[in-house]
């Protein structure tokens, strides 16, 4: 069905369609780009476990899905377990640090098995084989009293104190288990470049660019998601605000480098300049606290990543309604603001001329709704968001695992039908 040359042309067309929308202009139609790893697995008839652990099945599922649905971009990224280990290396060997951070994002469950991290529960390991992976800290890996130690000697404290608490295999540094795990991780990392380039090659053959493969974690979320935990960090912001800010300050340049370095890998390998900026705490913070503890640092990272020639794909989880004005502070026409539960109409009013908006319909509609209802909702969204350009149709991050196939088909058809300019 896909001749090689046609597929390449298709791939370029899709990249270009996304580029035009990013500049807040009108392409030939509204692009559709979604991050979903579970729906393609179910569609292709493989388990979620396979999606994490069986590279060839994962590739087959991704290819089949890309071919049949023909979206403008799909994100297939998996998990983040090795992030803290990678961060530890940032002062010692930045290039290696980035490979380690990216390892679990791209390489799947193998890294989780080797390191025995306490972050993730994966399908077919801690969870049944068809349950979606989950990421959560049960107990903080660093106490509120340890901010000073982290600030005094960040890499030493992370490597010697925090890493052994996070990764079961590294619990006793210097033990056979720890040495073995490091060797195994090295072997795994060695497999990853050819595997990645094969995957990218196959996706090119079916004309499907990635929604993103590069990423830039921000300081506050990194602290909350990888070192403290959700609640503890919120209390820290009231109890030890200055220390939280100092850590964010220290993390900013390191994480900016991760964004730029992975952006470069992405651009060279896939042609996509998008760098994923997941933003988690926004929805929970008042504008004042968001600006002080989060945006002050994240915005600096965004500016630098734009300066380096990449496109920040700011994924505002939950509701960003109360913070929309802050988006006006990023460089115009150079970023994508991907919304989850934010009111898209309001977003268009406030930032529509300034940044490309990515958003869509409620995932629960794809799970519990009907094709007619899905079509109606897509039509409504298009009527309001399409005019003037700068709109990408998407869905919240990994949110449609349980969606009905007929609903996803109806959604795709409706985007093509109502998305034309």
């Amino acid at each position: 069905m896909f001749e090689r040359k046609t597929a390449e042309k298709l791939y370029e067309e899709k990249l270009e369609r996304l580029e035009i929308a990013t500049r807040v202009e009108e392409p030939d139609r509204v692009p559709i780009a979604v991050n979903t790893i579970y729906f393609p697995a179910r569609y292709a008839g493989i388990t979620y476990h396979d999606m994490f652990y069986d590279y060839s099945k994962y590739t087959e599922a991704a290819v089949k899905f890309a071919k049949d649905f023909n979206w403008d971009a799909v994100g297939y990224l998996r998990s983040f377990e090795s992030a803290t280990l990678g961060l530890t290396l940032a002062g010692y060997d930045p290039a290696l640090a980035i490979n380690v951070v990216a390892a679990s994002v791209l390489a799947g469950g193998g890294v989780h098995d080797i390191l025995g991290d306490k972050y993730s529960s994966l399908p077919g390991r801690e969870l049944p084989e068809n349950v979606e992976a989950q990421f959560r800290i049960e107990e903080p890996f660093m106490s509120a009293d340890e901010y000073d130690k982290l600030l005094e000697n960040p890499f030493g404290f992370l490597a010697e104190t925090v890493v052994p608490r996070i990764y079961k295999s590294l619990e006793r540094p210097g033990s056979p288990e720890a040495i073995g795990a490091m060797i195994k991780l090295g072997v795994e990392l060695g497999k990853f470049p050819p595997v990645l380039s094969e995957f990218i090659g196959k996706m090119k053959q079916v004309g499907c660019p990635p929604w993103y493969i590069a990423l830039a974690p921000n300081p506050l979320d990194t602290l909350g998601a990888f070192l403290r935990d959700f609640d503890s960090l919120m209390l820290d912001m009231y109890r030890v605000p200055d220390k939280v800010k100092k850590v964010c300050e220290a993390l900013t340049p390191l994480l900016t480098e991760v964004g730029k370095a992975t952006g470069k890998i992405s651009q060279e390998a896939t042609g996509s300049r998008r760098v994923f900026f997941p933003i988690w705490y926004n929805t929970y913070l008042s504008p004042k606290m968001y600006k002080e503890f989060h945006w002050a640092y994240t915005k600096r990272m965004i500016d630098e990543v734009v300066e380096a020639g990449f496109t920040p794909l700011m994924c505002f989880q939950g509701s960003h309604d109360h913070l929309l004005e802050t988006v006006l502070e990023v460089p115009k026409g150079k970023t994508i603001a991907w919304f989850d539960k934010t009111d898209l109409r309001k977003a268009k009013e406030v930032i529509g001329d300034h940044a490309c908006i990515a958003g869509g319909i409620s995932p629960s509609l794809l799970i519990g709704g009907t094709p007619q209802k899905v079509e109606e909702n897509v039509k409504n969204i298009m009527e309001e968001l399409k005019p003037g350009g700068g709109f990408i149709f998407t869905l919240p991050f990994n949110a449609i695992g349980d969606a009905k196939v007929e609903n996803v088909k109806a959604m795709t058809e409706a985007v093509i039908k109502y998305g034309r300019y």
Binding site: Y38, K341, S362, G368, A399
Partner: protein, 237 residues
Amino acid sequence: MGKTINKQGVKSEKQITLVYSRWGCLMEKFEELANALADLNEEKTLRTTKETLEAGEDPVEILESCRNGITIVGDRFERGEYFLSELVMAAEIFKEAMELVRPKLEKVVAKPLGKIVIGTVKGDIHDIGKNIAIALLEAAGFEVHDLGVNTPPEKFVDAIKEVNPEIVGMSCLLTLSIESMRKTVEAIREANLREGVKVIIGGGRVDEVACEYIVADAYTDNAVRGVTICKKWIGGK
């Protein structure tokens, strides 16, 4: 005491002033406590709680003041002045204050507003939303039975049989939990318990479509509003 009261048992004018001023002071103190909590002043809330307890004031009044503080926090949240981080901090301060008050409260048997069984459904291990809901429900006077995370339908059914609650709360963060919540309600119905309880679902991924599909009675992605719904149900009984 006898000395200050005349034969008819009526207090002298001077005494009345004194009593009123003490009462006035006390009211002021309680108001101060509620406001300190509402303003998220952890140090002042705990200090005032300790001082009033040490002065021998009624622990029930102190509890009420803290609850009033939480009510103000809820109002500010509804008005968009406070966000989730303020709720988390307020709930934390409330919890700390209750740790001081609880030992003195033991003798006073307070009848709960109502009983709620709550849990994050099977397949979902997130408890952020649930914990905030629990803190606010407890502050509102509900007796809350927390089933924890990744709760299978049978566990909900067993808890309903055991606790006999008016309300069942199901929490989730992920979309995958919509299917799981539907199965849980199904299990409650099959055990012939559905008629006796109101079901509320809460979490980042629930909306009207999900609520209908799950066959719940209400949905919310807002803990403060969730508590208001629960209060309304109890009041309507």
